[in-house]
Symmetry: C2
Subunit: 146 residues, 2 copies
């Protein structure tokens, strides 16, 4: 595969198209991480839910859905899976009994520690000088207003 930089190379018109570059980079990264996490029975999605449940203030399913840009109904299935395996537990939110807070169990905490070792640190794949600018930028794009 040839890089998309030179004007005469394959994909010259796409070389600076954000949607294309992000889609391809995202596919590469999540495919790699899904493979790495497979031995633990996790995917990037379920790993992300687990990571969110570790927040100092555990999130409701609604908050998980917004943060991961998923439909609330998709979060149901993800939490169902993690809960059935004893990795997280649903707890009724004391402040709003409609909402369910997703809390990590001790087993979940241990699993996360293992999983974190398996997912790639993006900066190891980048020129060191560009890494911090990349993280700033991708976070900026990820959390843009609609």
């Amino acid at each position: 595969m040839v890089a998309a930089s030179a004007d005469t190379a394959r994909g010259a018109e796409l070389a600076h198209n954000a949607s294309f570059l992000l889609a391809r980079a995202s596919a590469v990264a999540s495919q790699r991480d899904n493979r790495a996490l497979a031995p633990l029975g996790l995917k990037v999605r379920s790993f992300s839910v687990l990571a969110l449940a570790l927040d100092a203030q555990p999130p409701t399913q609604r908050e998980i859905a917004e943060f991961l840009r998923l439909d609330p109904s998709q979060v149901v299935a993800l939490v169902d899976d993690l809960e059935s395996r004893g990795i997280v537990a649903r707890e009724t939110d004391a402040r709003d009994r409609r909402a369910k807070v997703v809390a990590v169990t001790d087993a979940g905490r241990a699993l996360y520690a293992e999983a974190r070792e398996l997912v790639a640190d993006v900066t190891t794949h980048l020129d060191a000088a560009d890494a911090s600018a990349f993280l700033r930028s991708v976070e900026q794009l990820a959390f843009e207003e609609e």
Copy 2:
């Protein structure tokens, strides 16, 4: 939505996770571009095929599949759509009569010029100082070896 930078904020554990950040940024970007392209009957996918067909050396379907990380069978459907609308045309590759080269028609060239105006320039959404490092990095990640 709160940014994922501070250690006590929502998503602290995910703030530097490449798969998550890239997936979210990719979702934001392609959703925006899909909306922008809708009036022309294009999506990011079909726009990308059209852009590739504009290469100095028009690509075969196989080359399009590799570049966009799609299965060849998905490219069939995308080219079917574009061809039925007179935007591209399949031509048997003279050097290998199994392969089909995807060439842009004059109508396709005109449509692409319109479409290119509609898709967002990523750099307008970034801190100017970070933009070039971001493009270098995301391209590096997008075209990493498996």
